[in-house]
Symmetry: D3
Subunit: 129 residues, 6 copies
C-alpha cells in the first residue's frame, strides 16, 4: 500500500474502463489524484467536453461508487514536452506513483525519477469504447 | 439554501479568514468549489506557493474541520479580462453563485448574468493577515 | 431588417461567393461587420494571405460594389474554443446576428444566446472556387 | 498629399485631442488607418474599454464629423518589441506614413525604414485630458 | 568570401549531410551561425531531441572536424510566419546571407531583403538519411 | 576543476564585472555556458538590447580576451517559475554547476538538485555600473 497515486488522462469521456482502473489503483494506494489532461480544449471531435464537464462526470461516477478518497485537477497542455512534468507537479498535490495509458507521459515521469506504473491490464472486451 | 457556490481567490496562503468564509458560504449553500486563482504562479513574494501546494493546504484545512462537500480547481490567469469568465466556467463544474473578495471578479461575473454575492463580512480584527 | 450583422470567415481569399453573401446579408440587415478569422496566420497553403492583405482585398471589393455600410475586424485564433465567443465579442462592435459557413462557430454563438443564422444558400455552380 | 496614414494609439478613450489629430493627419493624407493598440486588454483602470467598444466609439466620432476615408484595426500587444512592427504590418492594410504619440513606436517603425512623423503639435490647453 | 552566414534547420538529428553543408558554406563565408529551429520541441517522433541535446551534438561534430568559426543559437518556433524573420534576427548576431533547406524560410528572408542562398547541392547518395 | 559551468544573467549590457566573473568561473571550471536571460525582450530601459546584440557583445568581449572555451545560449523568459529550470535545461548543453547573481535563480536550481554556486565575490568599486 503506497500513499497517493496520480492518474492522468484526457477522459473524453470518462468511461467504465477508467472507473475500473481507478478501483484497481485504489487496491494498492491510499488515495488517488485524477489529472484531467488537455484541460483547455473542448468542442471538437477529439476533445468534446470542457474540463469542467469532465470534472463533474468523474466526480459523479466516483461518488456513485462510494469512492471518496480522490482529488481531481484540470491540467492544461503546454505543448512543450520538456517542461510538462514540472508543469504537472506544480499544479497537483504531491504524489508517490504515476498511472497513465500514455507511453509518452510514462517516459516523461521516468526522466524525473518519479516512480511510474504501467496501467494495470484490464479486459478491453469487458469495456468496449 | 442554494446549490453550489464558487469561491475564487489566490489563497497565498489559505488562512483562518478564508476558512471562516468557507464555513459561512456553506451555511447557505449545499456545496462549495474553491477556485485557486493565478494557478501558474509561485516562487515570488506575491505568489509564494504553487497551485499544488495551495491545493494540499486547503484540502487539509477543510478535512481537519470535517468539511467534505467541497471541490478544488486550480485556475491559471489569462491576463485577458474579457475572456476570464468563459475561461473559469470551462474549467470548473457548474455553480449557482460566486463569492469573491475581488471587486473586479465580482463585476466580471455580473456581466455574464452569473449571480454573485459580495463576500459575507467578517471581523478582520479576529483574523489579522 | 435587423441592425448589425457579423459575418465571420477566413477569406483566404475573399471570392465572388463571399461577395454575394455580403450582398444577401445586407438585404435584411442595416450594416455588416466582416470578421477576418485566423488573423495571425499567413504564408501557408491553407492561409496564404496576411490579415492586412485580406482586409485590403475585402475593402476594395466592397467599395467597388458601392457598398459602404461595412466594418472589417481581424480576429486572431485563440485555439481554446471555450473562450472564443468572448474573445470575438471583445474585439468587434456590438452586433445582432451572426453569419458563418462554419458549423462550429455557429454552435459556439448559440451557446451564448447570440442569434445566429445559417448562411443564405447560394448557387455554388455560379461561384466556382 | 501622401497616400495612406497609420495612426496608432490605445484610445482609452478616444477624445477630442485624438479627433483633432485625425483631422490634421487627413489634411496631408488621402486616407487614415486607426490602429487600436493593446486590443486584448479591458476592464482595468489603464485600459477600461474593450477593443470593440473603442472601435465603435471611434467610428461614431468620425462618422459624426462627416469623415469616411478611414479604417479601424484592433492590434493586440505582443510584449515582444522586436517583432512588433512585423506584427502590425501583418494586420493592417499597407500604409505610407506612421503617426503616433509614442516615442517607442516611432523608433520601432524607423528601424524598419517606414517613414514616420511625430504627431502634429496641438494645443493641449484646448483639449484637457 | 562574404562575412557571416546563417544556416537554419531543426537538426533532428544533425547528420553527415548537414556537416557537409556547413563545410561548403564555410568555403565562401568567414563564419557560420547555426540556428536550431523548433527549439522548444522534443520527445516526439518528429522532434526527438531537445535544443540543448542538438546544441551539444552540433558542437561536438564541428569541433571534431577542427571547425571553430561557428556560433549556435536555439530558435523557438513562433507559429506566426509574418513575425518569424524579426523573431530570428532579434535572437542571433547579425549575418550577411541565409542558407536553408526550407523553401518557406527562404521566401521569408527574401521578403525582408535579406540575401538568401539556396543550399549548395550535394550528393544525397553520399549522405543517406 | 569541475566540468562545465552555466552562468545565467540578462547582460543588459555585458560589462567588465561580468567579464571578471567569467574569468573567475573558468579558474575552477573547464568550460562555461553563458545563458542570456529574458532573451525575447529589447527596446526598453530595463532591456535595451536584443538577445542577438547581447550575444555578439559577449562573443566579442570573450574573444578579445583570448577566451574560447565558452558557449552562448539565448533563453526566453517563461514567467512561470515552476517550469523555469526544465525550460533552461532543455535549451542548453548539459552543465555541472550554476553561477548566477539572482537569488531566485539560485533557489530554483537548488530545488532540482543542481549544484549551484553563489557568484564569486568581486570588488564592485573596481567595476562600477
Amino acid at each position: 500500500m503506497t500513499g497517493r497515486a496520480f492518474f492522468i488522462g484526457r477522459f473524453q469521456p470518462f468511461h467504465r474502463g477508467h472507473l475500473a482502473m481507478v478501483k484497481r489503483i485504489l487496491e494498492s494506494n491510499r488515495e488517488i489524484i485524477v489529472g484531467i489532461g488537455s484541460a483547455q480544449y473542448s468542442h471538437t471531435g477529439e476533445n468534446p467536453f470542457t474540463a469542467g464537464e469532465r470534472y463533474e462526470t468523474i466526480k459523479r461516477a466516483l461518488d456513485a461508487e462510494g469512492i471518496h478518497n480522490y482529488d481531481i485537477v484540470p491540467i492544461p497542455d503546454t505543448h512543450v514536452h520538456s517542461v510538462w512534468v514540472s508543469h504537472v507537479t506544480s499544479l497537483v498535490p504531491r504524489f508517490d506513483i504515476v498511472y497513465t495509458n500514455s507511453t509518452l507521459s510514462f517516459a516523461f515521469f521516468g526522466e524525473h525519477n518519479l516512480k511510474g506504473s504501467p496501467p494495470p491490464s484490464w479486459n478491453r472486451q469487458q469495456f468496449p469504447a
